[in-house]
């Protein structure tokens, strides 16, 4: 049968007529540099402003206007390079990429062509079957273009230049990615690293992270690369995956039909879920790259790089390792907790606030279980969590020291959300403290056994299932406050 076969979780192979194809993917990610001002002008980069309100004379390419490099953006690019374990080039050059378009005021984009600011590096992906390394070819700085708006005026295209000149980092991977799942992991890892560094907010809805996806296919086991197609400007992981699946299958179909694949640029139509040709290699623009004579080569000293290196925070891979070593949590749990910097921060704060008698298992479970569920449901970021790390730590400690049961804790958790209330106060106000007094519980259980004589006899005769019945009765009688562990112990003794 023709179709997609999958050996392990993240592998993606296409089978046609006994041929097994693998897909080879390289990504060119465009990440907007976190910076208050643009790459070559002092205009604001704030998202969502009224059209054309954040445009300087430089951004609109008025006669005689000159670009002046924003040092902060350069630092951000270098930091990102360090995060990608990449070589930082002491000398890089800004080039002009020449083409005409209404939202490109200069008639060229200032980019880096031959000499990028960052060279080769790599990124580690945590896949279900183990770690995988994806090579980074380069990272360079460039200007974003403006935005052409075709759907407001019936006969005119309108142009918004707010984005014109905003700093982008283009991060080019090697063709090391082999499946849609790896694309997902790669983008998330890049995003994670950049968010740790504070160099890109990774907000895909606002266009801070977009990618051109290069796709080719080849018979599995072959070492030669097939002819690739580039799918331009895809702005969500889901769309990247859909585009790759469509494109890879299209290419396999062509090969199986004995046809050649044209090297071309394609667009992904999200509504029809298909890619279509935008321009062929023959029609490819001749961008006439040449060094921008308005800018001097960018020279960066080792001293400058080392200073930035010393400012780099702990990155996800290191943090994960530390979490495993220091907190004795599983690699799987650590991966989840470090994937987003705010989650990691939250977790570490919970750990710190739990104090000496901390319970990692409880902390991990409460964060990845209850808290994640709430955040997901309400679609809010962990940084804006309705329950602070401090109060969650208190709740966990109340469980740990036996003040409340896990079940009661869930009730309290719900109540805490109404304004981040201290769980201790809820426990006191609602009288939810766990009954852990053995004498009181013994009396309670004696009464239950007495009231259910027949069932007690049945249990003794071997109907062990009834044990749960007695636990339930005891919990009910205590209003859920009885310490379940004690109940178990006493019941076993008495029955």
């Amino acid at each position: 049968m023709d179709g997609i076969m999958s050996k392990n979780n993240s592998e993606y192979l296409i089978e046609r007529n006994d041929n097994i194809y693998e897909v080879v993917i390289g990504l060119e990610v465009h990440a907007q540099v976190t910076s208050n001002s643009k790459l070559f002008s002092s205009s604001s980069t704030k998202f969502g402003a009224e059209p054309n309100t954040q445009v300087s004379l430089v951004d609109a390419a008025f006669p005689g206007m000159l670009p002046v490099i924003n040092e902060y953006c350069v630092k951000q690019a270098i930091k990102t390079g360090i995060g990608l374990k990449a070589k930082i080039n002491n000398k890089s050059v800004f080039d002009r990429k020449n083409y005409f378009y209404a939202d490109l005021p200069q008639g060229y984009q200032i980019s880096q062509y031959k000499y990028p600011i960052v060279g080769e590096g790599n990124v580690i992906l945590d896949m279900p079957e183990g770690q995988k390394q994806v090579g980074i070819e380069r990272l360079h700085l460039e200007q974003d273009a403006g935005k052409s708006i075709h759907d407001i005026d019936p006969s005119n295209t309108l142009v918004d230049l707010n984005r014109s000149g905003v700093a982008l980092m283009e991060i080019v991977s090697k063709p090391d990615i082999r499946s849609p799942d790896e694309v997902n992991a790669y983008i998330k890892k890049l995003r994670s690293i950049m968010r740790y560094l504070g160099t890109c907010d990774g907000n895909m809805q606002e266009g801070s992270l977009r990618a051109d996806v290069n796709v080719s296919v080849r018979i599995k086991g072959s070492t030669e690369l097939g002819t690739r197609c580039e799918i331009k400007n895809v702005n969500s992981i889901k769309f990247m995956q859909m585009a790759i699946i469509y494109e890879a299958n299209r290419q396999v179909d062509l090969i199986e039909e004995g046809e050649e694949i044209d090297q071309e640029t394609r667009l992904f139509d999200t509504k029809k879920n298909e890619t279509r040709s935008m321009r062929s290699k023959e029609d490819a623009h001749d961008y006439r790259y040449f060094p921008d004579p308005d800018l001097l080569p960018l020279e960066i000293t080792d001293e400058f790089i080392n200073k930035l290196k010393s400012e780099i925070p702990e990155l996800p891979d290191d943090k994960k390792k530390r979490f495993i070593d220091e907190f004795k949590i599983s690699p799987y749990e650590a991966t989840i907790l470090v994937s987003d910097i705010d989650t990691a921060k939250y977790f570490e704060e919970v750990v710190a606030k739990m104090g000496k008698n901390r319970d990692m298992k409880l902390a991990v479970n409460w964060i990845t279980g209850e808290l994640f569920a709430v955040l997901n449901n309400k679609n809010i970021e962990i940084a804006l969590s309705p329950i602070s790390a401090k109060n969650l730590a208190k709740l966990i400690n109340l469980i740990k020291n036996g003040t409340i049961s896990g079940k009661i804790a869930k009730t309290i958790f719900e109540l805490m959300m109404d304004g981040d209330i201290d769980p201790q106060i809820i426990v006191e106000e609602k009288g939810l403290k766990q009954q852990s007094d053995p004498k009181a519980l013994e009396a309670l259980i004696d009464k239950i056994i007495n009231d259910n004589r027949e069932k007690a006899i049945e249990y003794k005769q071997g109907k062990e299932k009834l044990f749960g019945f007695f636990v339930g009765q005891a919990m009910k009688a205590s209003g859920g406050k009885a310490n379940p562990q004690l109940i178990n112990e006493i019941l076993k003794k008495k029955l």
Binding site: P63, L66, F100
Partner: protein, 485 residues
């Protein structure tokens, strides 16, 4: 008292400071003479009324500590001037009024200068005769139907005709020095990075440099002192210690070593230019300079190199004139159609020619053979000068291979037009300072100039040599006001 307009800048400043002449009197004189000189076609945009008004304001509240106290000055129309139309001599910017000021002109206004008007120039400074201007030919006041040189042709004409006490031009391949040479005036191209390019309509960014044009060397030193400044808004601006050029100006150049490059003896150079050069060498000796023969072996490659580098940069610099944001927009069926019509109607022939050359030399497959090679040759040309400057302090050459020619004489022969820049272009490629001073006349009584090229950032030596030689040469222009009715 003599006519105000014939005074040098230095004399005019002195008279104003001594309250012998008011700023308004000066302004009136220049406005009046400019109005009687429309036949020269030196102005693209007049700022006369405003100039008269501002000069009155200056007189009401004079500040004589300024370097240009209430001095009316007309400038090349390549400098963006706030609220005053700036065309770059092109139809595509015919209606363009900037909301900002170039750094160089701002420096002038900060020192008390008052804008008299915007002077004609070759379109986007591409030309050597002012014939490529959308606003028409400019007459050289030296003789009827003679070109004033280019691209700063309006500037040289206005200056020689006493329509402005001094002016500023821009020089990408000789556009200050060649028109100065053609009109018997002084023109200085400073070291690349000396004057900010901010707010100057770009032609070829790695070569463009603003500079003073004046009736004598001292005036150029005064104006250079005002316009040369480090500017963070121009990444190629250089933060070096700038002299007080005018107060440090001296005629004492004893022992200064001046190089004579043998490669500047080009084939077909008229005898009178050769003789002028020889005379110049004698003058320099008379001034106490030591003359040393030098070689600049890559000189013959300068012109072809220039005509690759400059158009390449221009083709990209001029891409912004697309009808979308400002300037001329012709209506079209589609975006591409609009671009094509706007740029076809907006640009003149010479500009289109250079855009095409530039686009060609940057195209994939040709880039290495042309642009990259040209950049390498440019380095060799620079190295020639570096090596020469191990032996000499400055270099003396003719400014141009010939005197001014007639309007229309070369306009259909771009290559012969380009040859005009043969002595000036290497200086731009190497980023050096160079001055042209009037040094003699040809058989038609047309002016001829000599060029003094200096070490990077050593404008002072260039000015000092020029100042010293100027006294010995004692050149006088013979302007008959033939254009006035």
């Amino acid at each position: 008292m003599t006519d105000i307009t014939s005074l040098s800048l230095f004399e005019l400043i002195k008279n104003i400071k001594e309250k012998k002449i008011s700023s308004n009197e000066a302004a009136k004189s220049f406005v009046d003479r400019s109005q009687k000189s429309k036949k020269l076609n030196a102005y693209v945009t007049e700022n006369f009324e405003n100039c008269l008004k501002l000069s009155k304001e200056f007189d009401n509240k004079p500040n004589y500590d300024l370097k240009l106290p209430g001095i009316p000055i007309a400038v090349k129309d390549l400098f963006c001037t706030n609220e005053v139309r700036t065309t770059a001599g092109s139809n595509i910017l015919n209606n363009f009024v900037p909301s900002y000021e170039s750094t160089v002109t701002q420096n002038i206004w900060n020192e008390g200068g008052i804008l008299l008007g915007k002077l004609n120039c070759d379109e986007f400074a591409m030309g050597s005769s002012n014939e490529t201007s959308f606003f028409g030919n400019v007459q050289n006041p030296i003789a009827k139907d003679l070109v004033p040189g280019g691209s700063s042709g309006g500037s040289s004409s206005a200056l020689a005709a006493n329509l402005t006490p001094v002016t500023i031009g821009t020089d990408t391949g000789g556009s200050i020095r060649q028109p100065a040479s053609f009109t018997g005036t002084v023109g200085l191209k400073p070291t690349y990075g000396s004057c900010s390019r901010y707010g100057i309509v770009a032609f070829a960014s790695s070569l463009d440099q603003a500079g003073p044009m004046s009736k004598d060397v001292k005036d150029s030193s005064i104006l250079l002192e005002v316009i040369s400044s480090f500017d963070k808004k121009d990444s190629t601006s250089i933060d070096f210690k700038r002299n007080n050029y005018s107060s440090e100006l001296t005629r004492n150049i004893k022992g200064i070593k001046i190089g004579i490059p043998k490669e500047y003896r080009v084939d077909g150079m008229p005898d009178e230019v050769e003789n002028l050069w020889k005379k110049g060498i004698e003058y320099a000796k008379d001034c106490g300079a030591e003359i040393i023969d030098i070689s600049l072996p890559h000189t013959s490659y300068a012109l072809p190199t220039y005509y690759i580098v400059a158009p390449a940069e221009a083709s990209s610099n001029l891409a912004r004139y697309d009808g979308v944001k400002y300037g001329l927009r012709s209506s079209g069926e589609s975006l591409i159609d609009m671009y094509e019509k706007t740029r076809s109607e907006g640009f003149g022939e010479e500009v289109k020619r250079r855009i095409m050359i530039g686009t060609y030399v940057l195209s994939s497959g040709y880039y290495d053979a042309y642009y990259l090679k040209a950049q390498k040759v440019r380095q060799l040309i620079k190295k020639d000068f570096d090596e020469a400057y191990n032996k000499v302090d400055a270099i003396l050459t003719p400014s141009t291979p010939s005197s001014a020619f007639k309007i229309g004489e070369k306009s259909n022969d771009p290559v012969s037009m380009y040859l005009n820049d043969i002595f000036t272009v290497p200086v731009n490629l190497a980023g050096l300072p160079g001055i042209s001073i009037p040094a003699g006349k040809d058989k038609n009584n047309y002016p001829l100039g000599l060029q003094i090229i200096g070490k990077p950032f050593d404008e002072q030596t260039v000015l000092n040599i020029a100042y010293s030689m100027e006294e010995k040469i004692n050149y006088k222009n013979n302007i008959t006001d033939w254009w006035m009715e």
